[in-house]
Point group: C2
Chain length 123, copies 2
């Protein structure tokens, strides 16, 4: 008798697909990778720092994405008690585990540029 796919007999490839969905849903959107990448490089950045570092992002998106990331424990948010308050954002230890993912993505993107460049050159 055929069973429907349930957890305990889910094929390996479906677990992989599930895992990919999980990762991508957490890192969805136009900016999450940028934010995390930026925070992995220079740790402890203020809201304005990020706004400057991440080219093109606006306050609304930045604030929203940071909240998402904080909710998923990927970034820390620390409010400093300065005259006008400031906030320090930093990557969490857990968020730092994304480094290999981001590295692969960046690496591939760089190779991609090269391949485009070569293709253009040959034309």
């Amino acid at each position: 008798m055929k069973k429907k796919s349930v957890i305990n007999d889910t094929p390996v490839c479906q677990i992989r697909m599930q895992a990919i969905s999980d990762t991508m849903s957490i890192l969805s959107g136009k900016w999450k990778f940028h934010i995390i990448g930026t925070l992995i490089e220079g740790n402890k950045l203020g809201f304005m720092d990020l706004l400057r570092e991440i080219d093109g992002i606006g306050t609304k998106m930045l604030s929203k994405e940071l909240q998402d990331l904080e909710m998923n424990q990927l970034v820390n948010r620390k409010v400093m008690d300065t005259k006008p308050i400031t906030v320090e954002y930093s990557i969490t230890e857990y968020g730092a585990t994304l480094a290999p993912v981001i590295n692969e993505i960046a690496k591939w993107g760089i190779e991609y540029r090269k391949s485009i460049f070569e293709a253009d050159g040959e034309q």
Copy 2:
């Protein structure tokens, strides 16, 4: 004299960010990773195969995403001359270079599940 950021003096981190953008724009959307992942596993799949393998996708999205991927040389599309025509989709050599990227993403997603599970267990 200060120059605006042009290719030849772009800081390394901006090149990285650019690269991340490139990769993600090619792999944007809800399905591209799934499609590529599926094609990397089982090579040579028909449209219907993919429709079955990729849980939840519809014909419109599948067709559109496949076109995008084909345009970017990541998948091959081969029309077979059978009675009702059939089409064989497969990953290109170039598309296969995405394997490490996808592996990292899948790996991270699996660890993520574990960490969630543990967190729930401790509650």
